[in-house]
Symmetry: C2
Subunit: 167 residues, 2 copies
């Protein structure tokens, strides 16, 4: 049974390969804009009352799906199933990103924290609310190692103080 979806918009300004060359170290250091098609713009009313939202988009440039992956290709990490990771080459390459909502101007949504390539089709926008917060989830050690490293190297506590588990 196939399910057919129609994009409600697209990532107008997103992640670009050049960002890396410019010294951008994380997805929290640049602003992305999402363009919502005219037919759906009225559906955004009231979204600005939330500080954070989910962007649900389609990773349209991903290759064939795989079932196993070694996270970040690092030898010390175990090979795990694709559903135990957020890596793109999944059976249905849908991405969900929690982003900071900066502002809305007509059909454009300005956000911080989106790691979607420019041009990616957007499928849905949802508010981030209290039912989405797990205070301190358990995660595997390979994830934790990376997080601790990024907290320092990417200065998360400074740039995105709203992010992450409760100490």
């Amino acid at each position: 049974m196939a399910i057919t979806l129609e994009p409600i918009g697209f990532v107008e300004v997103g992640m670009e390969p050049k960002e890396k060359a410019k010294g951008v170290e994380s997805k929290y250091e640049y602003v992305s804009t999402i363009y919502i098609y005219e037919d759906y713009v009225d559906g955004l009313d009231g979204l600005e009352d939330y500080s954070h939202i989910y962007i649900i988009y389609f990773m349209d440039r991903v290759g064939e799906s795989i079932l196993k992956v070694r996270p970040w290709g690092k030898e010390e990490n175990p090979i795990v199933g694709i559903f135990a990771t957020r890596f793109p080459p999944r059976p249905n390459p849908i991405a969900i990103s929690v982003v900071e909502l900066l502002r809305i101007e007509g059909p454009r949504i300005f956000v911080r924290g989106l790691d979607a390539w420019t041009g990616s089709p957007v499928l849905d926008i949802k508010p981030y609310d209290y039912y989405d917060i797990v205070k301190k989830p358990r995660v595997p050690s390979w994830f934790l190692d990376k997080w601790v490293d990024h907290m320092v190297s990417k200065r998360y506590s400074e740039i995105v103080p709203w992010l992450g588990p409760i100490d």
Copy 2:
């Protein structure tokens, strides 16, 4: 440009109309099971290292989409855009639910907190990690009112102490 997806499984035991009749007061009071099709089961390896996961499913019994909604039909709530709510009748009725992962037995995932009807097609499973935590997001007052009411009436602090913003 249409996007076509194929379910990776379905909600084998989910929310049922009768649950309400039985005195179930919230989605955290019953256990749901998800059945993953054989071709994808290997993709679950390592998922059990997470305490919480996202279930991305298709709300296949939703009616025609609407752009404006009055949350819970309550007169005192403002009419807002569908994207400012989590209500089902959206242009693309994809749902994302943060659930507690109880256990995995072969092709079956047992979870707490899923509000999907039995039979709903499942599109993706993702781990919930630290990038999904916003410590204390801003939400509209109509949401907050409901939350405060539910915290007490549905005994969230007792049943799901891991849920919600940091005090």
